[in-house]
Amino acid sequence: MSKLEKFLRGRLAAAIAAVIIGFAISAVVLAAAGYSPVQAFAQLFRGVFGKPKYMANVFIKATPILLTGVSVAFAFKTGLFNIGAEGQYIVGTVLASIVGIKLHLPMPLQVPIVLAAGILGGAALGAFVGWLKAKFGIHEVITSIMCNWIAFYLCNYVVMSDTFHKPNSNSALPVSSSSYTMILGNWKKSAEGKAFLKGIPWLREIMLKTDLNYGFIIAVLVAIAISIVLTRTKLGYELRAVGFNRDAARFSGISVERNIVLSMLIAGAISGLAGALTITGISPHTITLLAAMESYGFNGMSVAFIAASSPLGCIPSSLLFASLIYGGMSVKAPTEIINIMIGIIVFFTALPGIMPVLANRLAKQRREREAAAAGKEA
């Protein structure tokens, strides 16, 4: 098998092909609707790479969907479909906000406690769904969807409640500032920090004009940790065994029920962390009234799918989607074109058959050449 054939059979090629097809079809849609695809893509490109702060914002936007992506990917590897990342994320934001508003501890204590609150919230919701499946056999997709909406209204309830509502606004009170996780958040606003940043314009722009925070670093660490858990530990082996063949796992002495709950608990915890990091890292540092689902969980599904459910693969794919979503806001055509593009990309990642077909064709051509060469010699 030649190198090219091998590459074409791989996952990376499938992902790249899906992205190229996504751009190509979107170009056709844009052209058909009377917009210039070249201009639109140039605007998209400038919206991502045009200024240092744009690039910083891509990393900020990638943080939650990297984590929800890892959450979905992890559950998928253990045979569960976590369509509930959305709700787990929301509960994460809600609990992190509640704790962050009520507590006023010094930062080294406050930040871990606020993050833990979010993690706990997501984990509890995930475990509830897992428990319903393990105990009553109710499909996790249904209960997750129901829980998404319950979380949605819970958030709105907390925002509007007397205790947490910020008067004359549609948001809750901000969390205490010791919960913030911006990179050098205090220093950059001090006289010393401002003086230092003045000399370095690009750094100044990133630091002062965005909410650059530690979230992405934490998210990457989580992705690595989950990858290790899945592939290098007994826990991961058992979880995957349950996902791969439930009966075989049960026969070899693994508790299927326990593992289902555990898997959803971990998946929920990761999504909950995503929510908590949004609260600590990004202004307005609190929850706001939701009018519609914000799609952090659903975008996480796209991230996981194009990464073929590899937690590490979620890192580049979250950056790709964040670029499309963030850069897409600069496109001067209806911004829905970005949703269309993402939909097409995900759609084509669902078609694993396309690239191998190409590989087969290459193999056939080579065989024919070899046969022809052999014929000449004879």
Partner: protein, 306 residues
């Protein structure tokens, strides 16, 4: 009191109608062995197609048919992916749920000068005319014609699935495609037809929202209805009347939210809004027990594989 009960029933029927169409779409697709998570997306496309079709032709029935056709068109994508290319049906469905609302709003902005909602379009009639039963306590039972159609379609699907040869084939394909294949049933064809029907029904569901209940397309006209319809499919154990009943229950809880919210009830509205979803979970725990999907549901069929 009596008038309130009737009103309650009327609201229940009204809210359950779009769900019934969506759920029937889910039933037919899954009975043939193709999971359809994309019902939501197909409903959104149906919603804009119906509003646009009704607005531009002035005839809501044309809007209704256009919605079915557009829903089927979106379903064709799902069919090509999941039947011909043996793709992961969950992923394909999720993709459609991203793609279809994007296309719907893109089309809406293109058709209506950049507005994310359509102008007011002519609605489908009520069964007894605009003022039928007006002034009597039964006025709210003068439901939209789509409500009757939903029940009719449910009955037809029950008949087709359980009383006709073709229905038996569909069920066979969903349970054991290889066995069906050896008996000369064209598995791919059956699945294509079922997925297309599924999209058409979902399209009707979107239409029954935008030209049945409200009279225009808005971004939030369909928000989660397709997912609730999916829940109804499983809740109703993959049978047409089971799904219908499940949708009625959802409609009932929605009506409860509206009736309780209107009165001087002390529960905050956000907590009330959780009711339909919480109730579903409780009902599932109490009454449903293990729901068993068609055996080959979600499994691509590759001819000749074992």
């Amino acid at each position: 009191m009596f008038a309130n009960l009737i009103l309650f029933l009327g609201i229940t029927l009204m809210y359950s109608t779009p769900l019934v169409f969506g759920a029937l779409g889910g039933v037919i697709s899954e009975r043939s062995g193709v999971t359809n998570i994309g019902i939501e997306g197909m409903m959104v496309v149906g919603a804009i197609a119906a509003a646009a079709g009704s607005y531009f032709t002035g005839n809501p029935w044309i809007g209704f048919l256009v919605a079915g056709a557009c829903g089927a068109l979106v379903a064709l994508l799902h069919a090509v992916a999941s039947v011909s290319f043996a793709a992961d049906q969950t992923v394909s469905g999720v993709a459609i749920n991203m793609l279809a609302p994007g296309m719907a709003i893109f089309a809406c902005k293109r058709l209506f000068d950049g507005a994310a909602m359509s102008p007011i379009a002519p609605k489908l009639p009520k069964i007894l005319g605009e003022n039928g039963l007006a002034g009597t306590p039964f006025a709210s039972l003068n439901v939209n014609v789509t409500t009757v159609l939903a029940l009719l379609f449910t009955a037809i699907m029950w008949f087709v699935l359980y009383k006709t040869k073709w229905g038996l084939r569909v069920r066979a394909v969903g349970e054991h495609p290889a066995a069906a294949d050896t008996l000369g049933i064209d598995v791919y064809k059956v699945r294509y037809v079922c997925v297309l029907l599924s999209g058409m029904l979902a399209g009707f569901g979107g239409a029954s929202m935008t030209i049945g209940i409200i009279s225009q397309f808005t971004q939030t006209a369909i928000s989660g209805h397709g997912f609730i319809a999916m829940a109804a499919v499983i809740f109703g154990k993959w049978t047409p009347f089971g799904a219908y009943g499940a949708c009625l229950l959802f409609g009932f809880t929605q009506a409860l939210v509206i009736m309780l919210g209107g009165g001087d009830f002390v529960v905050p509205s956000q907590i009330l809004s959780m009711l339909p979803y919480a109730m579903t979970i409780i009902v599932l725990i109490l009454f449903v027990g293990r729901s068993v999907a068609p055996k080959a549901d979600g499994v691509p069929y590759v001819k000749g594989s074992r």
